[in-house]
């Protein structure tokens, strides 16, 4: 059971990722990314992280991707144009990526002692998570909320109409 689910949703992840790369219009890429996010949520659930699965759907797929979609619509971004491109990106970048993947894959496949995942493995309950979060890791938790506050302020300041426009004095 676990295997089938894994294969299906891993397939969705990969398909969505590849589609993200292939599409020319950003809105299509955004929608593909939503597919990836939700598939990942299922995979989290398969690994026993119930809270994270739900958080993934609510925060990532539900908020962040919506934000992306809003911006795409706001800026009326159209299809990608053919621009000059960067030769360095192709010449240097692709081999680097391939090398990276190769190294990671080699290490992963040669590592001993990795276990397995199955349906019978328990689920990490939300209670477990929150106990640690609100006792031992309370300070990072609060700091994170401050961080989000700052991010809100920053976003408001940057995206305000008067900011960033070219004024004659510049």
């Amino acid at each position: 059971m676990h295997l089938i689910l894994f294969i299906v949703f891993a397939g969705f992840c990969l398909a969505g990722a590849v589609n993200l790369l292939m599409q020319t219009h950003p809105i299509n890429s955004a929608l593909s990314l939503i597919v990836v996010m939700t598939s990942l949520a299922v995979l989290y659930l398969l690994l026993g992280a119930e809270f994270l699965a739900v958080a993934q759907v609510i925060v990532y797929a539900g908020a962040i991707m919506v934000l992306f979609t809003f911006v795409v619509m706001l800026l009326n971004a159209g299809r990608e144009e053919r621009t000059l491109g960067s030769r360095a990106a192709m010449v240097v970048g692709f081999p680097a990526v391939v090398a990276l993947l190769a190294v990671a894959a080699t290490v992963i496949l040669h590592t001993q002692g990795l276990g397995t995942a199955a349906m019978r493995d328990g689920i990490t309950s939300t209670q477990e998570l929150s106990t640690v979060l609100f006792t031992k890791l309370l300070l990072p938790f609060e700091v994170t909320s401050v961080l989000i506050l700052i991010a809100i302020l920053g976003a408001v300041a940057l995206a305000r109409p008067g900011h960033g426009e070219r004024t004659p004095s510049e």
Binding site: G85, S86, A88, A89, M90, V91, V92, G93, P95, A96, V97, A99, L100, V103, A104, V107
Partner: protein, 644 residues
């Protein structure tokens, strides 16, 4: 014997004068500058007198050494040592005494100059270096003085530096001196290599302990030192700077280029006589150089029209006499002539200066005349000097010139030849000096509307004193000079011997001088047109003489032009522009090229930055995750990385 002689005061006073006048002189009132400048030589002179009264001949030489060495490197040790012996005494008396008189004269002569303070600062500087030169107990300290007087001479010749000819003359003097100094330095190196020391007393002692040493290296050393002396004392072929040095103020010519600096070469040979004594060859060279210079310069002096040029060539000629004396090992005679020459030559120059001052700057003999009545004191003092230089009895020049000629004749061989040359030169000397006398003072006035007036007493006073010395100076030393200087320079000169021969030679010398006067009288008083006719009769010879044998032109062609060409084409184009400029250009080019290449990396393009980032990440990952030790071990390289 280190006494409390305070020899260091003698150079110190002029140095203090130089410092004070040099730094503050511009702002001080003229009277104060004069006072400082005059007190220095006067003070030194009094110190010298004080030393000399306190001692007997037996207590000399006295050495004073400063408690710390100058150079102490390995086996080489050079001290700051001053030596005071009879030779030093004579030299110091001349330098500080005549120096003081000339300082006094300058106060009047240079009164209206802008650079008054500068002039006296330089003059004091010169005195400082000259006293260091004669007091030095080792050759290196003497070299310091040697170079220093060259510097002072350069500064003073080019005193009116805005005049191109004066600046050029200063440069010429310095450069020609430098050539001589090079010879001196080589000689010093030889001395150091062979004797291990530069102190005169030690070298002398070493030579005395080894009577068998002659010739060879000692000849080389002596010849090198001779080159140095020839440069400083304006002998052939390095005399060319002295006539040009007349661009400087006349008192400078009197002090430096007549009485003191140019005699440094003679002094040096006398001081190192123990070296020259061991090398008959070197002595012969000295004698030949001296005699040749004496004759050469005298012939040029016959036809010069500038009053100072005549005196300049006369100085070269008389220095040749002194070298002649050294060349026949009659060092005391040479020094005697040095002393008397200082008196009458300084007097001649100062009187010439008085004439020039009176005529408002005129130096051409053809435009002078009839000054006898208008400048009486100048006339009579100059007459004394002319008689002295011509060698008439009982004036000073007679005794010293006679001593040299006698020593030359009695040596035989080469000595007789140089004696004859000396005799001919005496004839020429007498002739051209009287020619000058007639042209300047006697006859009708050829100077246009200028009304000559006698000089102030600050200028006339020294003239009178020097005239007295020119008359009596010879009596001081006759017969006694050799014996007096013997402890310092050896007793080659047998002055007391064979008075008959001496008498004959003296009469011959005076007769020759009288002949010179007679000819001058004929040509310049009784038949004033005859010089022009004579010149027209032998135009070739006359031209050669007037153009000073074209020596300057020859030097220019042989030495100066090639050097300039070398500088321009080799040093400027090849080295400066091509090599150095090229290297700089290359370095700059490399930097710029590197920068241009690297600049393209910073394109601002996000994607290329991302690509390089990915590459860096991949490399990092590769480095961290791969089990390098086991891979390398597989190739047989065991790297010690514990716990990786």
């Amino acid at each position: 014997m280190n006494g409390s002689l305070h020899l260091w005061l003698i150079p110190l006073l002029p140095f203090a004068g130089f410092v004070l006048n040099g730094i503050l002189g511009r702002k001080l009132p003229k009277a104060l500058v004069t006072a400082i400048a005059l007190l220095a030589p006067l003070g030194s002179f009094l110190v010298v007198l004080g030393e000399s009264f306190g001692m007997s001949s037996a207590s000399l030489p006295v050495t004073e050494t400063l408690p710390f060495p100058w150079i102490s490197a390995g086996k080489l040790r050079i001290e700051f040592s001053f030596v005071f012996d009879q030779l030093t005494l004579i030299m110091l008396l001349v330098i500080t005494g005549v120096g003081f008189l000339i300082h006094l004269y300058s106060a009047g002569y240079m009164e209206h100059e802008d650079g008054y303070w500068r002039y006296f600062a330089y003059l004091n500087l010169f005195l400082f270096f000259m006293t260091v030169l004669v007091l030095a107990g080792n050759a290196l300290l003497m070299f310091v003085g040697w170079e220093g007087v060259g510097l002072a001479s350069y500064l003073l010749i080019g005193f009116w530096f805005q005049k191109t000819s004066a600046a050029d003359a200063g440069k010429k003097a310095f450069i020609v001196n430098r050539i001589g100094d090079f010879g001196f330095l080589i000689g010093l190196f030889f001395l150091l290599a062979n004797f291990g020391t530069l102190t005169f007393s030690e070298i002398s002692a070493k030579l005395a302990a080894n009577p068998a040493w002659t010739g060879g290296v000692l000849t080389a050393i002596a010849l090198c030192l001779l080159v140095g002396a020839a440069g400083k004392s304006a002998q052939l072929p390095l005399y060319v700077w002295l006539p040009d040095a007349m661009e400087g103020p006349t008192p400078v010519s009197a002090l430096i280029h007549a009485a003191t600096m140019v005699t440094a070469g003679v002094y040096m040979i006398a001081r190192t006589h123990f070296l020259f004594d061991r090398s008959p060859f070197a002595l012969s060279v000295v004698a030949i150089v001296g005699a040749a210079t004496a004759l050469f310069a005298a012939t040029i002096g016959l036809v010069q029209t500038d009053i100072k040029r005549v005196l300049a060539y006369s100085t070269v000629s008389q220095l040749g006499y002194m070298f002649l004396g050294c060349g026949v090992a009659a060092y005391s005679a040479a020094i005697f002539h040095l002393m008397t020459h200082a008196f009458f030559k300084a007097l001649l120059f100062l009187a010439a200066g008085s004439v020039i001052h009176a005529l408002g700057g005129e130096q051409d003999l053809r435009k002078m005349g009839g000054l006898r009545k208008k400048l009486p004191v100048t006339f009579w003092t100059m007459t004394m000097a002319v008689f002295a230089i011509a060698g008439f009895f009982p004036f000073a020049g007679f005794f010293s010139k006679d001593a040299i000629l006698y020593a030359a004749f009695t040596q035989g061989g080469l000595g007789t030849v140089v004696w004859f040359v000396g005799l001919v030169t005496a004839l020429l000397t007498s002739f051209y000096m009287f020619r000058l006398w007639y042209l300047a003072f006697l006859g009708e006035s050829r100077s246009a509307d200028i009304h000559p007036h006698e000089s102030p007493w600050s200028m006339l006073g020294p003239l009178v004193i020097l005239a007295v010395l020119s008359v009596c100076g010879g009596w001081i030393g006759a017969g006694r000079f050799g014996a007096f200087l013997a402890p310092a320079v050896g007793t080659k000169t047998a002055e007391a011997a064979s008075s008959n021969l001496e008498l004959i030679l003296s009469v011959l010398a005076v007769g020759v001088a009288a002949l010179g006067w007679f000819i001058a009288d004929r040509l310049y008083r009784t038949n004033p047109e005859s010089p022009a006719r004579l010149a027209a009769a032998v135009p070739g010879a006359y031209n050669v003489l007037v153009h000073k044998y074209y020596v300057d032109e020859i030097y220019n062609f042989l030495i100066v032009k090639p050097l300039l060409l070398l500088s321009k084409f080799v040093l400027e184009w090849v080295v400066d522009i091509a090599i150095l400029g090229g290297a700089a250009w290359l370095l700059g080019g490399i930097a710029m090229l590197g920068g241009a290449i690297l600049q393209r990396w910073q394109s601002g393009n996000l994607r290329s930055y991302a690509a390089w980032l990915a590459l860096g990440a991949a490399a990092l990952l590769l480095f961290v995750l791969m089990p390098w030790t086991s891979i390398l071990a597989g190739f047989g390289l065991h790297v010690g990385m514990v716990g990786h």
